[in-house]
């Protein structure tokens, strides 16, 4: 291999061009490459972020749905409870009303029977007086024998 001055100068010229490219060509290319890398990195990061946001939103939606379900369940329970209460209340009211009506009827019946009994006593008394009149063949003065008659009527009433 013959190293000549010509070859050495050629080599120097080559390295001078290499230096030129390194100095003025490479920074531009390097910048473009780095910009591209940054762009890709930010794009990937944005995609990741979007994915995460979506997952978060889905989790949140699930949470909200769960919450809503729970609240609906509570409402349903409350309604059921309230309706049971209403039914019970109505039943109680109806029962007490029925009892009230029954007792009213009973007292009315009692009052009626008392009245009828008094009436009957009076009639029996009158009948007894009439019977006594016919037995005695004369008129019985009711006012004279009032005490007697009343006692009689009371005995009848006690037997009836």
């Amino acid at each position: 291999m013959s190293i000549t001055i010509t070859l050495i100068i050629q080599g120097l010229a080559f390295f001078a061009v290499a230096w030129l490219v390194m100095q003025f060509g490479w920074p531009g290319i390097n910048k473009a490459i780095e910009e591209r890398q940054a762009k890709i990195a930010s794009g990937l990061a944005a995609a990741d972020r979007g994915q995460k946001d979506l997952e978060d939103a889905q989790a949140k939606a699930q949470e909200i749905i769960k919450d809503a379900r729970a609240r609906a369940q509570v409402l349903v329970d409350q309604a059921a409870k309230r309706s049971n209460e209403l039914v019970d209340e109505a039943k109680n009211t109806a029962m007490s009303e029925g009892e009230r009506l029954i007792s009213a009827a009973r007292s009315e019946i009692a009052a009626e029977s008392t009245r009828v009994r008094a009436d009957l006593r009076d009639q029996v008394a009158a009948l007894a007086v009439k019977g006594a009149e016919q037995v005695l063949g004369r008129e019985v003065n009711a006012s004279t024998h009032a005490a007697l008659l009343d006692e009689l009527a009371g005995q009848i009433a006690a037997h009836s």
Binding site: M1, S2, I3, T4, I5, T6, L7, I9, Q10, G11, L12, A13, F14, A16, V17, L20, V21, I29, N30, A32, I33, E34, R36, Q37, I40, A41, L44
Partner: protein, 280 residues
């Protein structure tokens, strides 16, 4: 090379240039195989494939590393270019465009390596001649252009059907109504079409070859400034800086040329393929 001419007194520039422009080949005439072009092309293809496969194997869907990012930017850029220009199934066209661009660029890049370096290493390894830029070899560029040419025909037949495809040889670009008009137009149409088809691979290959060959030649001419000189003479002290500046300027300019030529080859391939698939 340089060591021989030193003793010969006056510098043998013609011999130097001729030496640099001779391929390491086996066989003669049409059967000659340019071993240097084939070797470097295969070497570059291997490097390209290994790098691409490594990047593909390590590719991550997350934030990419810097190298993956750079590769993605090139591949994405080419894909969007293809998407803009080729309105069809891109499953083959995009990889083709990527391969053409990267391969042509890497082969052109061999021109940036100091023009005497690899031939000098080759010489010490016993190789008499060595040309390191495969795209400065007409065989390489014509080979690629013929590959593209065949693809153009394949895509044309595939998208138009064999009848329409060959029918267009006679009915486009001149259209006519009536039988007489059609017959009259058929011959010019055929002629134009054949010229058009022949010109495409020629322009594609000659453009790339011409640019790279001229670039290499200028590097060689710049190298002639201090050819065979020794530190004892005045030559390296006066012409050396001139060689350095000229070499520096031309190398820096060549960075643009090799990229542009790779880009043009790729773009024209896409354009030809998209023209082949579109109906007239």
């Amino acid at each position: 090379m340089a060591t021989e001419v030193e003793s010969a007194g006056p510098v043998d520039m013609t011999g130097y240039i001729k030496h640099h422009l001779t391929h390491l080949s086996s066989g003669d005439g049409f059967n000659a195989i340019h071993l240097d072009s084939v070797f470097f092309k295969l070497l570059i293809a291997a490097v390209f494939l290994i790098v691409l496969l490594r990047v593909a194997g390590r590719a991550t869907a997350g934030v990419p590393g810097k190298f993956q990012c750079a590769v993605e930017m090139v591949l994405d850029g080419i894909d969007s270019l293809v998407k803009d220009m080729f309105h069809g199934d891109r499953t083959f066209v995009t990889p083709l465009a990527i391969t053409i661009f990267c391969m042509v660029f890497l082969m052109n890049f061999m021109d940036m390596i100091p023009v005497d370096l690899l031939p000098a290493i080759g010489e010490s390894a016993g190789l008499e001649y060595l040309r390191v830029v495969p795209t400065a070899d007409l065989s390489t560029t014509v080979g690629m252009a013929l590959g593209v040419f065949l693809l153009i025909q394949y895509y044309g037949i595939k998208s138009k059907g064999i009848v329409t495809f060959f029918g267009e040889f006679l009915t486009a670009p001149f259209h006519a109504n009536g039988v007489v008009g059609k017959v009259l137009c058929a011959f010019p149409n055929l002629l134009l079409r054949l010229i058009e088809e022949a010109v495409r691979p020629m322009s594609l290959s000659l453009r790339l070859f011409g640019n790279m060959y001229a670039g290499e030649l200028i590097f060689i001419l710049i190298a002639c400034l201090t050819l065979g000189s020794t530190l004892g003479s005045w030559v390296p002290w006066v012409l050396g800086p001139i060689q350095f500046i000229a070499g520096f300027v031309w190398t820096a300019f060549h960075v643009l040329v090799i990229t542009l030529q790779a880009f043009i080859f790729m773009m024209l391939t896409i354009v030809y393929l998209s023209m082949a698939t579109e109906h007239h």
